[in-house]
Amino acid sequence: MPRKLTVNGEVREFEVEDDTPLLWVLRDTLGLTGTKYGCGVMACGACTVLVDGVATRTCALPVSAVGETQAVTTIEGLPGAAEHPVQQAWAELSVAQCGYCQSGMVLQAVALLREKPSPSDADIDAGMTNLCRCGTYQLVRAAIKRAAGTLTGGRDDAQA
């Protein structure tokens, strides 16, 4: 049946079966391949996007469970390594290795920092459950702290 989704600020219309996971709508129907398939059972987080700002795994999330007006943000919806503090930190520290899980990892970090602007190591442990087979975790942790510094530093500047 015809459906609508709000993806990266744009209303997109398409037709798929109701049980189609949001992941495959994004990838195969809307051509947004930055969101990755890793396991199909919501165990790895490669398929993470933001739904109304909340990190959400999409590989087993039926598209019918996402409201037309809910804001879906994929990696393509972030402004990029030159502008977004998280992507900037990721690039500065050369976090990515193969890079496949990193779209999900970046969006998970964005969601974490929204909730915890100055996350402790324990917050990062609890918040970053995405799997990375390349083992980029040490640099993921460092990049989150760097981005947190930029974000909170920026806020201080704005207040000054």
Binding site: G40, R133, R141
Partner: protein, 720 residues
């Protein structure tokens, strides 16, 4: 040894290039010859009029950052402006892309930087000399007085020409026979922690992996594989699947049944509607316990001697250490599930995929499908991890994609995507291995008598690599890391037992060293305890004066110092160490565990690595962090167990990868033992981390670890 290929440039520019280029004609070279503004002295390097230095990579970047490292090597000798250096996947099977030692286009065994080291330097230096000669010609002055920096030729009088202004002339210059290479003191890029060139695209979701390839009229395929190893398909009822929305074809290929549809989800749903009747055959009754029984029984036999000297006589020993260690099957589980997109036409086939083995894949495709290798064109994509899995000895997932496209008989490109379950259950595992050993000490506490048995399935037998790896009469891929080990004394008897079963096996990051290294280092740690000697001092005593031991000794010194080993740890901290040579490099770890009641946590992890001359220190350190997570997974639950002839595990819920929370921070130290060239990195630290942890576990708990993953009764160690 690396050869200078530039002398073939003129030859290759001609039509003869076709005879070299497996796959489609290297059209870029022809185009380059026609475009005056481009200087392309080899298939690897292209300098453009806008000063872009475009480097086509002879090896796949599996995530380890070698695109950046290889570019640093070439660009340094070229004196290129680093800001204008761009890397590209190789775009043909031109011979310039061949592995310099293997003679085929392939990536593996942690050799990418090491094998290209001289070749890329020569390519950069020769191109630089030709650009300088072009400037000299233009200015009418001798080339001797000219220097280069940041993609610019500079005359003594201050006149400058950018490389981009010289491309047309440089393309007419004859390449120098022996270009002068820099002295290490002249390096400007080599040795620097330059940020990775792929850092932005991989933070922005813009890297195009095989799974992301978009083509006009693209169709998607999912495949049903046998549920157990060696099973054959008796019958399939496709009627329900064929009636489902979006389904275009259901095809049978030798390894399974595939559904081709207009989206992956529709293909998968229809796949689930297939009614498949498999004949499991004999192996369907086999369990993991039964496999271990068979391995143990094999070890009771004579086996095949792979190293022997002196006369092993335990009666002559003062003490004897005996043991048996077991290692399970491991799946590579790269985060990007295996996939390939294939389009077959009367003219041949095109493939879009991430692969380590382009030069070998085309031969495997010809063998399996009859499509001549010379008409197979592979468009290399970014690889979402590999760890050896995308170096498939028989080209499995690429071959399947071509077979599906062939069987479908459609003009469309078809993307065949394995589900995660296909990957975990699909074989090509790190072989399970059983080690049985008895080591007798002499009066000085040294291993004077060493008997060792390895039971393992051969990786190389029946593959195109059999001859390369069995040259010594046994499969080196089963015992590398044990054979020729430097600790053993005068009397040695090592035997190999080839296990034969339908579970397919393959190289996995760290290769045989993932079991031989932990076994040898565990033995040495236990012997040190028996001898009542500190493990560093014990190793030094065994290695002292031995040829080839200098780098290991250097790593031991650096590691001991970095870890502060001389200072005893606090009472609740327990530590272990290990060091292992592999892939031409030496790596050691000190692991400290903190024990709180029955709970064990990582307290500190210190690594020391001698990988020869370091191209990019931060990139090397990232590989050490990476290898620790990789090795940790094998300690804390990761394994594939055989059940009813198939894999018991199927996805990340039961095939464990270490998480961010579980993975310790690593203090990584790079050790300079004076080597003037790079050696292996990516796989090297996997092996020694494992026995360093198990030794710390023993120190903390008294539990002797003999099998993997760990089972620590009464303790809580990351769930083990």
């Amino acid at each position: 040894m690396p050869r200078l290929e530039l002398t073939r440039r003129g030859f290759l520019r001609g039509a003869a290039a076709l005879t070299f280029g497996l796959g489609a004609a290297p059209s870029r070279l022809f185009a380059a010859a026609g475009e005056a503004a481009v200087f392309a002295p080899s298939a690897i390097l292209r300098i453009e009029a806008d000063d872009t230095v475009r480097i086509f990579m002879p090896h796949a970047d599996l995530g380890n950052g070698i695109y950046t490292g290889l570019a640093q090597v070439l660009a340094d000798e070229l004196d290129a402006d680093w800001k204008r250096v761009v890397t590209e996947h190789l775009d043909s099977l031109h011979p310039d892309f061949k592995h310099r030692e293997w003679g085929v286009i392939a990536t593996g065994a942690s050799t990418s930087v090491a094998n290209q080291w001289t070749n890329l330097r020569q390519t950069g230096a020769a191109a630089r000399a030709m650009l300088v000669a072009a400037a000299a010609e233009r200015w009418g002055m001798p080339a001797d007085g000219l220097r280069t920096a940041d993609s610019t030729v500079i005359a003594a009088d201050g006149r400058r020409l950018r490389y981009g202004e010289l491309t047309a002339r440089a393309a007419q210059i004859s390449p120098p026979g022996e270009p002068r290479l820099k002295q290490p003191a002249e390096f400007k890029l080599i040795g620097r922690s330059l940020p990775r060139l792929d850092r932005a695209i991989k933070s922005e979701g813009k890297a195009v992996f095989g799974i992301d390839v978009q083509l006009p009229d693209l169709l998607h395929a999912a495949i049903a594989h046998a549920p157990s190893f060696g099973a054959t398909l008796r019958a399939v009822d496709t009627s329900r699947a064929e009636a489902m929305p979006g389904v275009r074809k259901v095809v049978r290929i030798p390894t399974g049944v595939a559904v081709v549809a207009d989206s992956f989800w529709r293909a998968k749903k229809a796949l689930d509607a297939l009614v498949l009747d498999w004949d499991g055959g004999e192996f369907a009754a086999v369990s993991q316990a039964e496999l271990w029984r068979r391995y143990a029984a094999l070890a009771d036999g004579e086996g095949q001697v792979f190293e022997q000297r002196g006369k092993v006589d335990m009666a002559a020993a003062t003490q004897v250490l005996k043991g048996e260690m077991r290692f399970p099957f491991l799946a590579h589980a790269p985060m990007e599930p295996l996939n390939a997109t294939a389009r077959v036409s009367a003219d041949g086939c095109e493939i879009w995929a991430g692969t380590q083995f382009q030069g070998i894949d085309v031969g495997n495709i010809e063998k399996a499908t009859g499509i001549p290798a010379s008409t197979v064109r592979i468009h290399t994509q970014w690889l979402g991890g590999s760890f050896g899995r995308r170096a498939s000895p028989h080209g499995d997932f690429l071959v399947e994609a071509v077979q599906v496209a062939q069987a479908a008989g459609l003009p469309n490109p078809i993307k065949l995507l394995w589900q995660r379950e296909d990957d975990i259950r699909g074989g090509l595992y790190r072989p399970m291995a059983l080690h049985r050993f008895a080591v007798g000490l002499d009066a000085e506490g040294r291993p004077a008598h060493w008997r060792h048995k390895v039971v393992c399935a051969s990786i190389s037998k029946g593959t195109p690599f059999e001859a390369a790896f069995t040259g010594r009469g046994f499969d080196l891929l089963s015992v590398e890391g044990l054979v020729d080990n430097l600790y053993a004394g005068a009397n040695v008897d090592y035997r190999l037992y080839d296990a034969v079963h339908p579970v397919s096996v393959c190289w996995l990051r760290g290769e045989a060293d993932t079991h031989t290294g932990p076994v040898v280092e565990t033995i040495i740690n236990r012997l040190a305890r028996l001898a009542g000697t500190d493990p560093f001092a014990y190793r030094r005593r065994l290695l002292a004066g031995k040829a080839d031991a200098a780098r290991a000794l250097g790593v031991l010194d650096a590691l001991e110092k970095a870890a502060g080993w001389a200072t005893p740890p606090p009472p609740d901290v327990h530590r272990g160490m290990a060091v292992h040579k592999s892939f031409g490099s030496v790596c050691g770890f000190v692991v400290e565990l903190r024990k709180t009641g029955t709970r064990l946590d990582f307290h500190r992890v210190v690594a020391a690595l001698d990988c020869g001359l370091v191209i990019n220190p931060d990139s090397v350190k990232a590989q050490i962090y990476s290898a620790v997570a990789f090795a940790l997974s094998t300690l804390i639950g990761q394994q594939v167990e055989i059940e009813a002839g198939g894999a018991r595990q199927s996805n990340f819920h039961d095939y464990r990868l270490a998480t961010l929370e579980e993975t310790p921070l690593v203090e990584a130290h790079l050790v300079d033992n004076g080597l003037d060239h790079p050696t292996g990195v990516g796989e090297v630290p996997v092996s020694p981390f494992i026995p360093a942890v198990t030794e710390a576990v023993f120190a903390a708990t008294g539990i002797t670890v003999d099998s993997f993953p760990l089972r620590l009764e009464g303790y809580d160690f990351i769930g083990a």
